[in-house]
Amino acid sequence: MEVGQMQRQWVDYTKSLFLEGFLDSQFLQLQQLQDENNPDFVVEVVSLFFEDSERLLNDLTNSLDQQGIDYKKADAYVHQLKGSSSSIGAQRVKNCCIAFRNFCEQQNIDGCIRCLEQVKQEYCLVKNKLETLFGLERQIVAAGGSIPTMELSF
C-alpha cells in the first residue's frame, strides 16, 4: 500500500474512533503534545495506560471476588481507572467507570460485577483499536510518510 493510501486509511480510522465514542478530544490533546522531540509520546503514554489499567482491573476483580467486599477500595480503584482513562481520552472506558462508581456507592454487588465486565470489555476494545492505529502509524513511518494531524472537525 502506498503512503498516501495508508495515510488516508489512518485518517478514516481515527475519525471512526472518535465518531464511535472510543476516543474523545482529550486524545487529540495528547496528539498535539507529540512533536519531533517526542515522536512517540502518544504511544508511550497509551502503553503506560495499558499497563496501569491491566493492573487495576486485576485488583478490581480480586476485590470483588471476596467474601466481604470492600466497596471503598473498589471505588478507589475505579476512581483511578476513571482518571487515567479520561486523561488519555478513552471515553467509553471512562463512562463505564462512572456507572461503576455509582454501584460501588450503593454497594450493589450485581451492578458492580456487571460494570466490571463492561469495563473490561470496553478496555479490550479500545486497546485493540489503538493498537491497530499504532500499527498503521508504524507502517506509514516505515514507508517514509508522516502521520497526518487530526483536527476534530466532525
Binding site: 498535539q32 503506560l48 488519555i88
Partner: protein, 674 residues
C-alpha cells in the same frame, strides 16, 4: 529595584535576567507535580514542559514533601492529586501551606462539589478536574504571582509608605508586576533563607523587595512554641517576634504567618463549633435581622453576601476566607432556611439575633497558602473566635459598628483573614466582636460569602454602608481593582451591576467588573486591588464560603473579605478546572443567598443565580432583599443594594438548588430571619 527579573536566577536560574518579559513571564516556573497515577503524571509533565515550565514529578506525597523540605525555595507551585494512597491530598495541601507557603493546585477526576469545596477550604488556590487540559495549565503562574503580591502586601501593609507605590506597581502592567514581584519575591526569598536576610533588603520597602520568608519546619516550631508560651489569645506578632528571636524576621512576617496559623487552628476547631459562636457579638444585638442593621450593615452584609460572592470573593482573600465563607452564608437576616450552608443553624439570622448560625462557619482556611491580606492589626481587632469563619477574613467593615451586629459577626467569623485591611477608609468600626468591620461595604460581602456573609450581613459587614456607604471605602487605594472580573460567575453581569452600584464607595472601582455584581464597595475590593485578579473565583474559593458553616464567625468577625464572597459569585457554571473554584464560590454565594432571604436575593442579580444554582450554596448572606422586609434591611440601605440585590436575586434564583448541598456544618444560616 528594577523590575527585571534578574534576581531570580538564584533560585533555579529559571528566571534569567531579561527573561522576564511579560510574555515570558511564566517560563521557567518551577512546578512540582504529585500524582500516583503514572499515566496522568506523564501527561501532566509533558503538558507543563510544553508550557515551558520546569517540572519535577513524583508519585508519592511523602516524596513530594521531603523534596519540598530539602529545597525550600526550589519550587514555585505545587500541583497535587486529591486521592493518593499514602497521604490524602488535602493533608499534603495543609502541610505545604503551613510549612512552605506555596500555592497548591488540587486536581482530581472527582468533580463533586464537596470535594471541590474541601479543596477550597483547605486553601488550595485552584482545583482542576481531570482530564486536565493544557489550557488550564498555562495559566497556573497567576497563582504564584498573586501569592507573592499578597505577601508583599502583607509585609508592606504594616505601614509601608510604599503602598501607594506598590499599588501602582501592582496595577502596572501585569508583566511588570510579575517581574517586579518576581524579582522582589524570588530574589528575596532566595536571599532570605530562613530569615537570614539582609537588613537592607527588608528595610527597602520601596522596592517591593520583601524578602519572602520561608517558614521551615523548625521556624514554624519556634513560632508555635512562642505562641503557646504567650497563649494563643495574647500572642501578638511583636511578642512572638521577640520570643522567637530570629534574625531577619520581621513583625510582618510573623503577623501574616500568625494569621494563617489562626485560621488553621480555627479551621481545625471551628468545624465543630457551629453557630454558637456566631451569636456572640454577632448581631445579637440586633434581632432585627438586619433590619436594624439595615442601616446598611445588615444589608451590606447580605448584599455582600450575595454579591460578594462574585466580587468579593475575589477580593476576599479568597483563599483565606474561602472556607468559611461558604458556610456562613452570611445569613443575613434572611434566615434562609435553605441554609446555604447547611450548617447547623440553618438560619443565620443576622440581626435576628441569631448570631449563632454563623458559628458554624467553617473555619476558613485562610491559612493554607492563602496569603491573607489581613492586616495584622485587623486581626487583632477581630479577635475572632470565629472559628467558623475560619478563614473568612471578611472584614466587615462595619462602618457603623454598632449597627452591624452582623458585621460583627461576620468579622468575627472571619478570622482575620484577608480582612480587607483596607478598610482604613471605611470607617468600619471594628465591630465589637472583632468583626472586622473592614468589610467596608464590600467586604462584608466577602464575608457574606462565607459564613461571614451571613454574619456579616448581619449588619456588621454592611456597615460600610450605613453610614455613608463609605464603607466601601476601599481602603484608600482605591484602585481597587477588584479585578473581580474573573469571577466566572456565570452571570457576572450581575455583579457588574453591582459594581455600578457604587453606592459603595467609590472604590468600587470596578475591579469588580466582571464579578457578579459584587459591589466593589467592599473592602474586599481593596484587597482586590491587590489581587487584581479576578480569578478569585478560583482562588478565592478558598474563601469560599466554606459550606461549612462556619458561619459562626460572624460573630463579629465578619472578616469575610469580600473577596470571599466574590468567589462565590463565581458562576459555578464553570467546570473547567478553574471553574471549580467558581463553583465553590458560587456555593458560597449560595449560602449567602440562602441566608439572606431568598427572595431578596433576586436583586442580587442573576449572576448569583448562576452561582447559586450551581452551588446550591445558598449564600445566606444577607441577601439584601430589597423587597422583603427583613432582608430589606440591607437592600435599602445601601446603595449597595444593587449589589446585594443582585446577589440576593441570584441567590434566590439559585436558591432553589441547593440548599443542602453545602453541608455547611457549622453554618447556621438558618438564623437568618427571612
Amino acid at each position: 529595584m528594577n523590575l527585571s527579573v534578574k534576581a531570580m536566577t538564584s533560585s533555579s536560574g529559571a528566571w534569567k535576567a531579561g527573561e522576564l518579559v511579560s510574555d515570558q513571564f511564566p517560563a521557567g516556573l518551577r512546578v512540582l507535580v504529585v500524582d500516583d497515577d503514572p499515566t496522568c503524571l506523564m501527561i501532566l509533565e509533558k503538558m507543563l514542559r510544553t508550557c515551558h515550565y520546569e517540572v519535577t514529578k513524583c508519585n508519592r506525597a511523602e516524596t513530594a514533601l521531603s523534596l519540598l523540605r530539602e529545597n525550600k525555595s526550589g519550587f514555585d507551585i505545587v500541583i497535587s492529586d486529591v486521592h493518593m494512597p499514602d497521604m490524602d491530598g488535602f493533608k499534603l495541601l495543609e502541610h505545604i501551606g503551613l510549612e512552605m507557603d506555596l500555592p497548591v493546585i488540587m486536581m482530581s477526576a472527582d468533580d463533586g462539589k464537596n470535594v471541590v469545596m474541601k479543596g477550597v477550604t483547605h486553601g488550595a488556590c485552584d482545583y482542576l478536574i481531570k482530564p486536565v487540559r493544557i489550557e488550564a495549565l498555562k495559566n497556573i503562574w497567576q497563582h504564584v504571582v498573586r501569592k507573592r503580591k499578597n505577601e508583599w502586601k502583607d509585609i508592606e501593609q504594616s505601614g509601608s509608605a510604599e503602598e501607594g507605590d506598590r499599588q501602582q506597581k501592582q496595577s502596572a502592567d501585569e508583566a511588570d508586576y510579575s517581574s517586579s514581584a518576581n524579582e522582589g519575591n524570588w530574589k528575596n526569598s532566595k536571599k532570605r533563607r530562613d530569615e537570614e536576610e539582609d537588613a537592607e533588603e527588608r528595610e527597602d520597602t520601596s522596592t517591593l523587595k520583601k524578602p519572602r520568608v520561608v517558614w521551615s519546619v523548625e521556624l514554624h516550631q519556634q513560632f508555635v512554641a512562642a505562641v503557646n508560651q504567650l497563649g494563643i489569645d495574647k500572642a501578638v506578632p511583636k511578642k512572638i517576634l521577640e520570643l522567637m528571636n530570629v534574625p531577619g524576621l520581621t513583625r510582618e512576617n510573623v503577623a501574616s504567618h500568625l494569621q494563617k496559623y489562626r485560621l488553621y487552628l480555627r479551621r481545625l476547631s471551628g468545624v465543630s463549633q457551629h453557630q454558637g459562636n456566631l451569636s456572640n457579638s454577632f448581631i445579637s444585638t440586633q434581632d432585627t435581622t438586619f433590619g436594624s442593621i439595615s442601616s446598611l450593615n445588615g444589608i451590606d452584609l447580605q448584599t455582600l453576601a450575595g454579591q460578594i460572592p462574585a466580587q468579593n470573593l475575589a477580593t476576599l482573600q479568597a483563599a483565606a476566607l474561602g472556607r468559611s465563607a461558604a458556610k456562613t452564608g452570611v445569613p443575613m437576616s434572611v434566615v434562609d432556611q435553605r441554609n446555604l450552608f447547611s450548617f447547623e443553624n440553618p438560619r443565620l439570622r443576622f440581626g435576628d439575633g441569631q448570631q449563632q448560625h454563623m458559628s458554624s462557619n467553617k473555619p476558613m482556611n485562610l491559612l493554607h497558602g492563602i496569603p491573607t491580606n489581613m492586616e495584622p492589626k485587623q486581626l487583632a481587632n477581630l479577635h475572632h473566635s470565629t472559628q467558623s469563619l475560619g478563614g473568612l477574613n471578611i472584614r466587615v467593615n462595619a462602618t457603623t459598628p454598632q449597627s452591624n451586629p452582623l458585621l460583627m459577626q461576620m468579622a468575627q467569623s472571619q478570622p482575620r483573614g484577608p480582612i480587607l485591611s483596607e478598610n482604613s477608609a471605611s470607617h468600619v468600626p471594628r465591630l465589637p466582636t472583632s468583626m472586622a468591620p473592614t468589610i467596608t461595604g464590600g467586604i462584608s460581602n466577602g464575608v457574606l460569602g462565607r459564613n461571614g456573609i451571613a454574619d456579616v450581613s448581619r449588619g456588621t459587614a454592611y456597615n460600610p454602608i450605613p453610614q455613608t456607604s463609605p464603607m466601601l471605602s476601599f481602603p484608600g487605594n482605591q484602585s481597587t481593582e477588584i479585578s473581580v472580573n474573573s469571577f466566572p460567575l456565570g452571570s457576572t453581569p450581575g455583579i457588574s451591576s453591582m459594581t455600578s452600584k457604587g453606592s459603595f464607595q467609590d472604590e468600587v472601582t470596578s475591579g469588580m467588573k466582571g464579578s457578579s455584581g459584587f459591589i466593589p464597595s467592599y473592602d474586599i475590593f481593596n484587597d482586590l486591588q491587590q489581587q487584581k485578579s479576578n480569578d478569585w473565583g478560583l482562588q478565592n474559593v478558598g474563601l469560599t464560603y466554606d459550606a461549612s458553616q462556619h458561619v459562626s464567625p460572624l460573630q463579629g468577625n465578619i472578616d469575610v473579605s469580600p473577596s470571599v464572597l466574590v468567589h462565590q459569585s463565581f458562576p459555578s457554571t464553570q467546570q473547567a478546572g478553574q471553574n471549580r473554584d467558581a463553583t465553590s464560590i458560587g456555593k458560597a454565594m449560595y449560602s449567602l443567598g440562602e441566608g439572606m432571604e431568598q427572595r431578596n436575593l433576586q436583586n442580587i442579580g442573576q449572576n448569583l443565580d448562576t452561582l447559586l444554582a450551581d452551588n446550591s450554596v445558598r449564600v445566606k448572606t444577607e441577601r439584601v432583599p430589597d423587597t422583603s422586609s427583613q432582608t430589606n434591611l440591607f437592600t435599602e440601605h445601601y446603595g449597595q443594594e444593587d449589589l446585594m440585590s443582585a446577589l440576593l436575586k441570584q441567590q434566590q434564583e439559585g436558591m432553589g438548588p441547593a440548599e443542602s448541598e453545602f453541608d455547611f456544618d457549622g453554618y447556621s444560616m438558618d438564623n437568618i430571619p427571612v
